[in-house]
Assembly symmetry: C2
DNA sequence: GTCTATATGCTGATAGAC
DNA sequence: GTCTATCAGCATATAGAC
């Protein structure tokens, strides 16, 4: 039954977060005003403060939810027995996730510097946890002799940077299908780690 | 002979640009005020407008000068006859340049969205010119059979993203020397292109 | 060349009516 | 739950004194 009052808590809350995500991703946190976000949602600026104590918390909640969702999705997706299999799963998962949630991903590495120190540390911990998942795969592959690489940490950072880069240029519906793209990146990743 | 007037045009102009570069890199263009820049230089906000028509132009000039300097430095540094040699020179040059001018490089891919459309197009053209230098090396190596790669454009973007990533984590004076770092990245790059 | 003073407008956030 | 009205402060940029 649709309610007849002016109450829209279940709608407005998520709408505010969606609008903030989209606007922050497009223009940057510092360049977006609370009035703009409210305008996108269809309410006045004051109404936003029923859903967030302040603008900083709005950003932080977006980043924290993203990181937690990413870690949960990876926990569900991770599979494979050999390091090579597990690396391939990681590469394909990472690309899929980044293309499906490009705004969240983009935000989460563009707006880190606009977090307060405490909030930044909190996000950094989550991000490091995700990096460690890849690092563990590489370390296992180095031990088992499946991979040939000079430095596990450097390879981890290089792989993540390479994969993140997809966001800066790939557009769905263009020359390359997503599956084809993943295949190309998986080949490059394999070459990077000497598999 | 030192002049005795209050005129400091030769000092203040560059100082403004240096302060803007540093502050924009640390906090982001939108979050930095003209007053902050002036404060860093030791003048009042109004004095900045003797050196730049507005804040937008100040940002644009920093990015344009960076890109032009990068292209000039690469023109001086590029060498090697075989594609493999030329790729190694590129990898080492790119890392050196990025570590030597990390603020400029960081700015030039964090603040693109704060440029006006016309200014953005201008910077994009320069950036694409640089990318094309790497892309030409890969295309030559593919033709000659020195490289094995599925897609020249994808490999170009992947290599650049991987190399840019150095900025996000490498700190001079740490566990790895710069030369060691370059060697590791060169090995990974070689693996990526099947050389 | 730099200063002070100022214009005009937008900012994040709050108080109280409905 | 949302609105209107408002606060105090800071933004970019300019004008005119020195």
């Amino acid at each position: 039954m649709a309610r007849k009052t002016g109450s829209h808590a279940e709608i407005t809350g998520p709408a505010i977060r969606a609008a903030a995500l989209s606007l922050f991703a497009r223009s940057g946190y510092a360049a977006v005003s609370m009035r703009e976000i409210a305008g996108e949602v269809g309410v006045r600026a004051g109404a936003l403060y029923l859903y967030t104590p302040d603008k900083q918390t709005l950003l932080f909640d977006l980043l924290r939810d993203h990181m937690e969702h990413l870690l949960g999705a990876w926990a569900d997706a991770k599979s494979g027995t050999t390091p090579v299999e597990r690396l391939e799963v990681f590469v394909r998962f990472h690309i899929d996730y980044h293309l499906d949630r490009s705004d969240q991903v983009f935000l989460s590495y563009m707006e880190l510097r606009n977090l307060t120190d405490a909030n930044f540390q909190s996000i950094e911990t989550l991000r490091r946890t995700y990096e460690d998942e890849l690092q563990a795969i590489l370390a296992d592959g180095l031990d088992s002799g499946d991979f040939t690489l000079a430095d596990v940490r450097v390879s981890t950072m290089a792989l993540i940077a390479m994969l993140n880069g997809v966001l800066t240029w790939y557009r769905e519906g263009g020359r390359l299908s997503r599956d084809h793209l993943q295949g190309i990146y998986w080949n490059m990743a394999r070459g990077m780690v000497g598999a």
